[in-house]
Amino acid sequence: MSQPRVPGWIYVVVIPLVNILLASLAAGLLFWYLDINPLQAVATMAYGAFGDSYGLGYTLYYTTSFIFTGLAVAVAFHCGLFNIGGEGQAYIGALGVGIVCLTLGGKIPLLLLLPISIIAAGAFGALWALIPAWLQAYRGSHIVITTIMFNFIASALMGYLLIEVFKPPGSMSVESAIFPESSWIPKVHDVAALVGLDLQRSPLNLSIVWALLSAVGVYYFVWQTRWGYEIRATGQNSGAAEYAGIHLGKTVVLAMLVSGMLAGFFALNVVQGEAHQIKLSLVNGMGFTGIAVALMGRNHPFGIVLASLLFGFLYQGGGELQFEFGVDPRIIVVLQGLVILFSGALEKMMKHPIERLYLKYFYRPTTTDAAEA
């Protein structure tokens, strides 16, 4: 019996939307309990996130970070690997960016420096993923365990380097010197001003262009190259991959290198684009949020960009909520949690009912069905 077919857009558009709607309903109940009008809360969040160029700038700045960490998780996932180490890989990426900007900044023009810092961010992130990848590929150590441990090692290493190496003499705070201004990635509002567009100041910088390019690049890499093919074959059916002569170890290492590289790019946005210095815990959980982003975005770059926008909205809009209503900042974490719960953990909950509804009311048999039957 052939399975009746439900078109892809049901899975890509309808089900995620329904899940988000359910999460919003649950969040609404929460606000109602806190004596906040849920509609007002939504309006506040929406205004805070999209209402003006300031809010929008912040939203897109967060979105940029999530695109990088989300893509990182997705590429590894296509190879059947759960890379929990985005946090550490992004942190080490910051080290690469920091070294490039502190040594070359002010000495060479940005146009020359930028490719170097991009390579450094990616290479350092990839390098940090390489050891867990190698251990998984050739020693059978589980990647989840090793990448988590490497997050802690990254954190300890960066703490040590910041105190012992990067902290300018005499400074009391644990952070590196500010990079020379010429090495900063330009802010979008500054670029807009050049063409006469007046935007409010926000941390949004041109890294977002690189993030979108990366998303396109990931699409082509995963679905349009033989390496992507091998990664997906390995992830979906390692027995078949072996049969096909695909070297499992090499493929695992390749997928993790690309994944670590994407996580490392995170530092372009947050360090070279906004903070302009290496700070303690600058990743601040965004590496982990990348898991939720990838999950929501169904590991597809397009979905990841959308999911990143949603999480950017939650971050920025949630901050606004806290500001307006004085709610506990942890409520925002609860909001994010609800979104993850409904669109991640309970993803299958709505799948069958929606499939059934579709088949019952909208399905028309097509010629392919007839040919098969």
């Binding site: 052939s2 040919a371 039957a373």
Partner: protein, 525 residues
């Protein structure tokens, strides 16, 4: 009126107008079925004929859209499997529902505990099981974890599970798929003794031979419809096959004489030990000449899979030597699967789901598996997706893979069409040596015919074909020479002209009959 009830009372189960649709798919079309009390009733049909749906309705997994189920003459609404069990229906699924690290006893008790404390349930279960297993020769070691038991024993546990729950009607879904011929024979004995005690057995299968051997009545399904009910004694395999497929089917493969030439594949003294230390291949010697099919018979798990894996480069040669077309593969000259493909060896793997295909891939992606690095599919950086799709579409048409949609997910093809896709992929590369494992496992009768013909065509085109199958009939009808494997060794060789089920059956149990010994001596002399 009374007479009518009497007739109904003799029926263990009766279906009246059972109808079930899944969206546009009409899986069961107004099915009527009567299963007499105390008989073994076979239900046959191709994959997708609706057998499993029908049984799922009886067992309460699905509810019928229309129609009634009568159990012992009473209309019973079976809305979930608990009601089915309470009505005396037991089901043994094709894929066993056992917890691997629990013992047989624990598995039987699971879900049928008599109270909070397990001790009492276990004691009771042990008594009942000991009685049942004696009565029906269903002996099972009760205290061994299931994972250490053979599939045959695991199946017995499933049957015991159903009987323990008071099953009067036992449904078996493809019960012999994983069994050795001996285990199958034993199963049929068990079923016969169950029948004697008044249990009704419904057996779903696509193996006609077994229907003929074990059942009293048989119902045939085709495309969701019940097309015939017949007494087994009044029908034949040919008639059943025709009813199943809807047209005449050749059960015997028609092929001419083989014209073998030089050996293309030579295996000498090949041994292979699994990582857990078990010797899986023990000094195997064989050769396959151009223009012949050499069959490897044997109970599944006697080294056939490892032989194919080693020959195709998935596993490395540890001891001995493989010569393909003049290329030597041994421990110091290992070849990867892609290198083996490059020296013109095709491999149709035994298990298309585990090896041959990636279910989530589109058909065209699955179609290049193993050949995905060939220049015709790749640019410098990007794959030539249009070329791949075009190529796949052409080959799908040529090999009659349906539906002819290269973008359709592999998982959405029927088993036969998936297998055709694999076979098309491997044969289209025009290999000199073709390794074939279980070519028709889970494939419809209609497709089997065409797959067999393709294999014969390869032979006639002067290729060397090595065929591994656990279906004796398939081996006997396709192979020109038959080797039997047991415990990693080649027990002996029989020309197809001499082979029959008795001889091969004995050899599969590591006994070489005298007539074969004589033949071998003759050959040596």
């Amino acid at each position: 009126m009374t007479a009518q009830t009497d007739v109904a009372a003799q029926m263990a189960i009766e279906l009246r107008g059972i109808d079930k649709r899944f969206g546009p798919v009409h899986a069961n079309k107004y099915i009527d079925l009567k299963v007499e009390q105390g008989t073994i009733h076979g239900i046959v049909g191709e994959n997708g004929a609706g057998k499993s749906t029908l049984m799922s309705i009886i067992y309460g997994f699905y509810e019928a859209d229309e129609g009634d189920i009568l159990i012992d003459g009473q209309v019973t609404k079976i809305s979930d499997s608990k009601i089915a069990i309470a009505s005396g229906i037991g089901m043994v699924h094709q894929h066993f529902m056992l917890i691997q690290n629990m013992t047989a006893l624990e598995n039987v008790v699971l879900g049928a505990e008599r109270g909070i404390m397990l001790n009492d349930s276990m004691k009771h279960a042990r008594e009942v099981l000991e009685r049942l297993s004696k009565e029906y020769s269903l002996e099972v070691p009760l205290d061994t974890p299931v994972e250490q038991l053979s599939v045959g024993l695991q199946q017995r546990i499933e049957i015991l599970k159903a009987l323990y729950r008071g099953a009067k009607i036992l449904i078996l879904d493809e019960p012999t798929g994983v069994l050795t011929p001996q285990e199958t024979e034993h199963l049929f004995k068990v079923l016969a003794s169950l029948k004697e005690q008044g249990t009704t057995v419904i057996m779903i299968t696509h193996k006609l031979q077994e229907i003929m051997a074990a059942t009293d009545n048989v119902s045939v399904m085709r495309r969701g419809e019940m097309v015939a009910h017949v007494k087994t004694s009044e029908t034949s395999r040919e008639q059943l096959a025709e009813l199943m497929v809807g047209r005449k089917v050749l059960l015997r493969v028609e092929k001419g004489e083989a014209a073998p030439k030089d050996a293309l594949l030579e295996v000498s003294n090949l041994s292979w030990t699994a990582p857990d230390g078990v010797l899986k291949l023990d000094d195997v010697n064989l050769n396959v000449r151009a223009g012949e099919i050499v069959g490897i018979a044997g109970v599944s798990g006697n080294g056939q899979s490892e032989l194919l894996d080693v020959l195709s480069g998935i596993k490395q040669v540890q001891k001995g030597e493989v010569k393909v077309n003049g290329h030597v593969i041994d421990k110091s000259h290992p070849l990867t699967p892609s290198e083996v493909r490059a020296i013109k060896v095709g491999h149709i793997p035994e298990d298309r789901h585990r090896m041959g295909l990636v279910n989530s891939f589109a058909a065209d992606e699955a179609f290049i598996l193993g050949y995905h690095r060939l220049p015709q599919y790749n640019g410098k950086v990007f794959s030539l997706r249009n070329e791949i799709t075009k190529d796949c579409a052409e080959k799908m048409e040529k090999w009659d893979v349906r539906p002819q949609d290269p973008n359709l997910k592999t998982a959405n093809f029927s088993g036969g069409n998936q297998q055709k896709l694999v076979i098309a992929r491997e044969m289209e590369q025009d290999p000199d040596v073709l390794l074939v494992g279980q070519p028709t496992r889970g494939v419809d009768i209609g497709a089997i015919e065409s797959i067999h013909n393709r294999i014969i065509d390869m032979r006639d085109a002067g290729k060397a074909v090595l065929l591994v199958s656990v279906e004796l009939e398939e081996i006997m009808s396709l192979a020109d020479r038959i080797l039997v494997m047991f415990d990693g060794k080649v027990v002996g060789e029989v020309p197809a002209s001499v082979a029959n089920e008795q001889i091969l059956g004995l050899m599969m149990a590591n006994i070489v009959p005298d007539e074969v010994k004589a033949l071998q001596k003759e050959a040596q002399a």
